[in-house]
Symmetry: D3
């Protein structure tokens, strides 16, 4: 039985993320989707709470017909110490055999901790990019095709787009 | 669609907990099992990591034939402020309509935050009690019948019983 | 112009505390009442929030006809380091010339930090004692004469007595 | 009896802030002035300690003849979680009925928490602006007319202007 | 080149500790003395600051003629997560090959993290025991023979015995 | 007996730092080298762990023939409160008589806390500058002459240069 870890912030979960999930599920029996910076929300970089992100991810996977019994979705707050982060992660999750990550620092930290790391194939990263999608939301431009329908519906229904625009307006 | 929250530390998850899960699933469509004190492990009161607890709970539910697509298992670290705890929880979880809890302080905190709370029926709380089970483990007495088979197997396989006995021996 | 600091947790503010305030106001022009452990509430030792304690203290002083323009009531959260606590306090408060304290550790810490400390006269400390008063509240015995009327009224109106009894009942 | 909350960092308290206080006191019986980021000081954005800010605000209100028995001045440290900030505030303060705020994020957070929010009228925000005033202090240009006299006197007497210029010079 | 780690709180450093240092220096080329709970002081269990403990240890080793170029004395604050503690330690210290520890939990945590652990020989642990020595100090009984002379001199000169007795007297 | 404090982050320790150490040792009997931001590592500004920095500093001093019994090398984590930082430092270190610092904020904070501060003589600060050296490492340009040989050897042997380049590549 093989288990993989897929860390991210998923602000929001988009089709590039979904693609990694599908790709990963071909390589391992179970996949842990790690929702990082769980303590953050209501900021420009992290508009959605961990709970909202978990719900959006789960709805998206269900819509895709992915077997949820093969998936763990686990939120984790940041700690201030990069060098112990991989170990911190390992206490919040079931044991895993491989990490799916592209971010060079994340790759390095898990490798230093002795984990096997695989870099997922690229998937049009200019477009399927959370920063870019948040910008489109703020500018009220079209972003619906970049995310799973379940993500779009959740954000619209919960007025997440309006929240993001209000945060941008902050003069704090 | 109704969603319930079931908070606990699950050190370890036992048949009383399993009973509450089944009882809860008759009342709501989806149940969030909240694994509290997620940052704790390797202590007498909290021997298991959040990841170990999540895995034990999940294995137990799967063995019971419970539909995992109706379940969220979400770890959450403690914060030091009781008065904001209910709100802290609400940022880590999807929205919920009712809380299943017996602990008077937990009941009070969620009620003060405006949540509906239901107290699960008692289920032989002298026996199905995590403190009692940890004591049996330490004393090497029989505890296998008090927990789901998946919990027993996990603890034995990962030498969790030995860890607990070593922690007791601590002279720190 | 002389300013004094009077630190405490005030869980709750009682007639012994009030007495110290009056005694202190004869010695200094302005008095800072420092409400410690501000982050705590809903526990057996710290049932009331900082905000509730501030309101109870203020109402008590007003009822006594004390000139509020001579008083600062300032909440401060704990820090984990005793040795810097006096300095931590000094960043939350206007400058002060003398500390009114009886607790030997508090006395020592402020003295080590170079402050002048005066010990208030005792005032029937068996009776006018927050731990004792909380116990009476829990046991539903008579405690109304041990606190200012404003404190009693506030606790009854906000069901603080009921909160305390529920906290005691906790099986967490 | 109506109570309002006026959150800010007040680095330093200026005539625009004073104007909001006066405007607020026409709408409510009691006003809580919440001094945010209380743990910060000696930085470019937050040069003054919470205690210094409290003293400057209080002196300004007294000079204006404002009845201090209608005012609470309460420091509060930051927490890292925006989504629970409104609840965090509510544990440090007496209960309040309305929030006076202009910052869109603050407005949003209190609205999400169920509070009524009113936006104070603008008051020449280019001039009466703490960032702008700190810049003038650093450049040694004229800023005395932008703040209450009590604030100016306090800063000069305590060499706060010199502190700010030294912080700017930091090469840390 | 072999390096060993010797963790402890050293409240205070006594002849049993000194014995472990000497024993360890026969086994490794360099020894890291890790001064734990560095953030603590002025409590019954942790009366001395990290800096005071470092100075006492260093003076003791110098008096013994131990080559200080073979020694690191490194303070480290606690973190709340036992399961990542060994990794936390490894970021504060140069790399080490073996851990000298007796405490079963410490032994377990370092073993789980993949370190070699050796248990030092016992050395009259009823007598050479920090808890016991602190009690003797409080009771003003004879403790001078249980600690290196440098420790005794430091505590007396800095009135550490008086501090300890005042802490005991605390009624906080 | 005079003792000096020399605070820095030493990311990495370079010849300018070494020069200050030598200059300081002419003025005091013992020198405390305080390794700040000890909790940080694996970032662009703080690539090395506290333990790595301690080892590099120690090796450099030994190579220079500096008497290590006159030196303390003490790591300290950040606290969020500038105004209590000097006191925080004093709990992690033996008592000191003078601070050697150039950073204006550090100078100010120690002066406000009552310490004597001396500014070390400049030593070609354009070249002997940690930020500049990290940039050279990243660009793979020549930096070996700017640091003690022991620092260069340590970084190369432990692939610290590669770590730094990977961190720069981060897209987190």
């Amino acid at each position: 039985m093989l288990r993989g870890l897929y860390p991210g912030r998923f602000q929001p979960f988009h089709l590039g993320h979904l693609n990694v999930v599908k790709w990963g599920l071909e390589k391992v029996d179970e996949l842990i989707i790690l929702v990082g910076s769980a303590q953050e929300s209501h900021t420009l970089s992290n508009p959605f709470t961990a709970g909202e992100r978990i719900e959006m991810i789960r709805n998206s996977l269900r819509d895709e017909g992915i077997d949820l019994s093969r998936i763990f979705i686990i939120p984790i707050p940041d700690i201030l110490m990069n060098s112990v982060w991989a170990y911190h992660v390992s206490t919040y999750t079931p044991k895993f055999d491989v990490v799916f990550a592209r971010n060079p620092l994340v790759v390095r930290i898990f490798k230093e901790a002795g984990y096997k790391v695989e870099v997922p194939p690229p998937f049009n990263r200019e477009k399927y990019n959370s920063t870019y999608i948040r910008r489109l939301i703020i500018l009220n431009e079209n972003w619906s095709e970049l995310v799973p329908k379940a993500v779009y519906d959740f954000i619209i229904k919960n007025k997440g787009d309006q929240r993001l625009r209000e945060i941008v307006g902050t003069d704090k």
